[in-house]
């Protein structure tokens, strides 16, 4: 039992360990050497990531409240990798930041929460994981304490996510009332499709939609992304969102499979709205973070499109896309983090003539944006293709058409930034930036990921086989 316990919860264990190490560092040392501390943390996170590949087992604990298997291990690895990259990218920002350790403790706590959430086999565990991952995030958003935008973002985040949690919880409570269980494994047996159950399902669904920032539950996203510090934004947009997608997959595919007819329609509407509204808002943004917020909203639409298929291929594509999305979005955010940390500029107009002094960074940003837009040969192309293919499997070509045509709209605004970088003239372009090695490493990892993932066919196949099991 005990060894099982250790192995099954190894991811959570190792994260907890890191959190404790960091906390004890905070308590027992008075070290002002931020660089060393950051390097140590990064090494720990890297070790955590590598560790994630070993000793994977499947099984469940606590009467099915916690369960894990290879897919979940993979998902946790994706999150670990994302966190590692975010952490590497945060280097330049954190180097001079007062609350370095708090950042990490909060960050890793949320990661821990996500791990629990993904592994949850029970609504209680799910709820705990969800809250554990979202409450510290709000605090993280407020990490630039003296910035108005930062505190506003945090406030918006905590209040709206509390509200959303309430709605979800209300749904869960009704569901509990109709089924008498909170266990994922048992619940489907009790799902009769009564109106109250549908009510509660919609409430739960909207909770997920909120977290995923699907339209019309997305409105907090842009403000929070804009106000939060760049690493937090990137974390929010990739890891936080990713974890929700992972649990959403199992919630939809296993728990509420019997409501498929309904949630397909709900997804249909949500996808159309999300992609369209996301794109329409993204078109005229000038703050690059806000812009990426809307772009990530649109991206979620595509993930949901993949999920809407309700098949293993859909789940595979969604997970695959999240890997790709991690690389591409973090690639873009890495450059933005660098620019923000060194030049303090976050407007798209600031990027005019960026290529003049920073060719490499420009290419990184450009390739990441291309990947987001789904342009081959970047991995984003494959990710999008698979999602759309999965979505088309349902035979709803209206939806596919809307999604695909929106890809063109999205191309417009991605290219707008590329245009600023390469073509627009600027009297005072951003000077040559010298990033730290860790941020360079992060960007390199992202670029390799963006370029290679699409051709590494084994990855997709493996996920597919895992899901198939």
């Amino acid at each position: 039992m005990s060894i099982d316990f250790l192995i099954l919860m190894k991811s959570e264990m190792s994260l907890t360990l890191i959190i404790f190490i960091l906390l004890s560092l905070k308590v027992f040392t008075n070290d002002k050497n931020h660089v060393a501390l950051l390097n140590l943390t990064n090494i720990l996170l890297a070790a955590n990531f590598v560790f994630g590949f070993f000793f994977n087992a499947s099984g469940e604990l606590f009467n099915g409240m916690f369960h894990t298997n290879n897919v979940i291990a993979l998902e946790k690895n994706i999150l670990n990798l994302g966190t590692l990259i975010v952490s590497l990218q945060a280097f330049d920002w954190l180097k001079n930041h007062k609350h370095l350790l708090e950042f990490y403790v909060l960050l890793l706590t949320t990661l821990l929460g996500m791990d629990f959430m993904i592994s949850s086999g029970n609504f209680l565990m799910f709820f705990l994981g969800l809250e554990l991952s979202s409450i510290p995030l709000a605090a993280l958003a407020n990490l630039d304490l003296e910035k108005r935008k930062s505190s506003e973002a945090a406030m918006k985040m905590i209040l709206s996510s509390a509200f959303a949690s309430c709605i979800t919880l209300f749904g869960i409570s009704l569901l509990y009332g109709t089924t008498g269980t909170l266990n994922f494994a048992e619940m489907p047996k009790h799902l009769t499709g009564s109106e109250l159950q549908l009510f509660s399902f919609i409430f739960i669904f909207t909770g997920f939609a909120f977290k995923l920032s699907a339209v019309p539950f997305h409105l907090w996203t842009a403000d929070v992304y804009e106000g939060a510090p760049v690493p937090v934004t990137s974390y929010l947009s990739v890891i936080s969102k990713g974890s929700i997608v992972f649990i959403f997959i199992s919630v939809l595919f296993t728990l509420f499979r019997s409501f498929e007819g309904m949630w397909y329609n709900m997804l249909y509407l949500t996808i159309v709205l999300t992609i369209t509204i996301g794109n329409l808002f993204a078109i005229r943004q000038n703050n690059i973070k806000r812009f990426l917020a809307f772009s990530s909203i649109a991206q979620v639409g595509y993930i949901l499109l993949g999920l809407s298929s309700g098949t293993g291929a859909g789940a595979t594509s969604a997970i695959y896309f999240l890997i790709v999305y991690t690389f591409s979005n973090l690639g873009a955010f890495g450059v933005i983090a660098l620019v923000s940390a060194h030049a303090g500029k976050e407007e798209i107009t600031d990027y005019k003539g960026f290529y003049a002094n920073n060719p490499t960074l420009s290419w990184v940003l450009t390739i990441s944006l291309f990947s987001l837009a789904g342009i081959p040969p970047t991995a984003g192309f494959f990710g999008k293709m698979f999602l759309v293919t999965a979505g088309a499997g349902k035979g709803n070509y209206v939806l596919v058409t809307i999604a695909v045509m929106n890809m063109v709209v999205s191309l417009y605004y991605y290219l707008r930034i590329v245009r600023s970088i390469f073509m627009d003239k600027n009297e005072t372009p951003i000077a040559k930036l010298k990033g730290s090695n860790s941020i360079k490493l992060a960007l390199a990892v992202c670029m390799i990921g963006v370029v290679v993932t699409g051709f590494a066919t084994g990855l997709f196949e493996n996920i597919n086989t895992l899901i198939g099991k």
Binding site: S160, I202, F205, T206, P216, M266, L269, I277, L280, F281
Partner: protein
Amino acid sequence: MLSAGLIALIPLLPIFCFVLIALVGKHAFPKFCGMLGTLSILGSFVLSVVVAFQYFFQVGKVNGVYQQLIPIKFEWLQFSPNVSIDMGILLDPISVMMILVVTFISLMVHIYSLGYMKGEERYATYYGFLGLFTFSMLGLVLSSNIFQIYIFWELVGVSSYLLIGFYFDRPSAVAAAKKAFIVTRFADLGFLIGILILAFYSGTLDFQTLITRLTTPTDQLNAITSASFMGMSALMWGLVLVFIGGAGKSAMFPLHIWLPDAMEGPTPVSALIHAATMVVAGVFLVARLFPIYSLSCPSALDVVAYVGIFSSFFAAIIACTQTDIKRVLAYSTMSQIGYMMFALGVSGYGGEHGLGYMASMFHLFTHAMFKALLFLGAGAVIHYVHSNEMKDMGGLRKLMPVTHITFLVACLAIAGIPPFAGFFSKEEILQAAFQSNKLIYVVAVVTAAITAFYMFRLYFSIFWNKSLTPALSKGEGDGHVHHSEGTVSMLMPLVILGALSLIAGFVPFGKLVTSDGKELLTEFHIGFSVAPVLLAAAGIWLAYSFYKKENARPQNMVDSMKRLYKNAYNKFYVDEIYLFITKKVIFNLIGRPAAWFDRNVVDGTMNMIATITEKTSYSIKALQSGKLQQYSIYFFSGVIGFVLLFIYLWK
């Protein structure tokens, strides 16, 4: 007997010469290019003579009928197993006659140009283009496939374009070249569609097969005659459209407008292309397809006849009023080709009925000689006077004796005075017309008289009239004394052509070139010739009285029919009508609206889609108001909306 390789060399020598000049000669040995070109064409000419001799007297005739021989043929472009463009050589009386004419005139022009074009900056290019033209023309007449003829047809057109535009820094030359190309291109469109129609129904592009299928009762013939469109049978359409192609090249009304302008090119070129060879391509084309016209669709042949006679008459009238000597010659060319055309038009197929055909070919042959001579002579005059205008000339007979005599011979020939070449061919044409259509005959005779008049008007104005033009007498004082009549290379062709204009009429054409290949014995009615010759003589006399000495009679005449004169002088405003149609109607009513439509409507729609997207984006921005409670309201109404929608409405 006939060596295929040698025959192939006839057209290939000039094109080799062209390629050599274009790639190497222009830079390496520009001075020698003229000689090179002349030698190559001499080779072609000699070969043609050999071939002609062999064909006419040794191998061509089987059982008293000249055969169509195909020494070379290879598949050039296959469309389908049955339909393909073949490159081949078809030898029959007309093509053999044509290669003789083409190589000969071309040789004369090459020699003439050695002197005429000496010192030109683009001397080498000129010879290159001449080679290209000769190749195309020879290819055209030797074609064994209707599409092959179209290919060379186009090539001839472009060489003509290049040569007319030879003096490319003169805007008028550029415009003329463009006009010539576009007008003939427009006509070629007819030709092309005609080919498509004929090929579609007959299922072949090969001349022999095509003619066989469309003249003997076969399925194809049934199909093509029974299909009709707008009241005309498909065959009629096809043939008329092909004729339009021919009419364009041969400057028949109303597609003649390019020919006078084409005189912007160097004069030897006018002699070669726009008088003797290329412009008769249309006649040749009709002659080539003559069995189909004649046997299967006589009404198409009527079109040919009437267009021919009208053009002939029309051009003759205009020619009387022109003052630019080359233009006069151009209109006379048009008139003479009209002659050939209507001769074909009134002809029947085979035997006695084929007189018109034979006459037409005969006239083509003789006309090539004397018209080339006229142009070369005119070229010599222009070379001497440095002007094209009649008013700058006069009294040149003393200064240019050789030119004078040869020009006179040519004029007599074209006027149809016996025993010059033109007399015989013209007489037979008139005879053919007399046999079949009296109206055409009458007009033709009148035209012959007018021809005599304007040719001698030209002759007298150049060589007699004013004793010496003021410009020239002044010129002599200014040290232009060295001005001689021209080099030997220029005079030699004149003399040769003059001699031929004298004797070409005695060629026994009826034995050689007939519609069905059989011998056609023509009887010579002295009585029949009286009227035309007298009329021609009257025309000459009139010209004599008007233009021998400077006098007021022409002016009086002009005044007496002012209106006609003005119209004729302005070429009956055909150019203006075209200009109106193209510039005003096509440009303003089609081109400009199309361009506008494209920029504003089609492109505008695309831009509008973008604008609408952006506008929408702006108009919904208030959704994101920045106020948390509004967000929550949206959120909550989203929840309620979903509940209502998915639980109650969208089951």
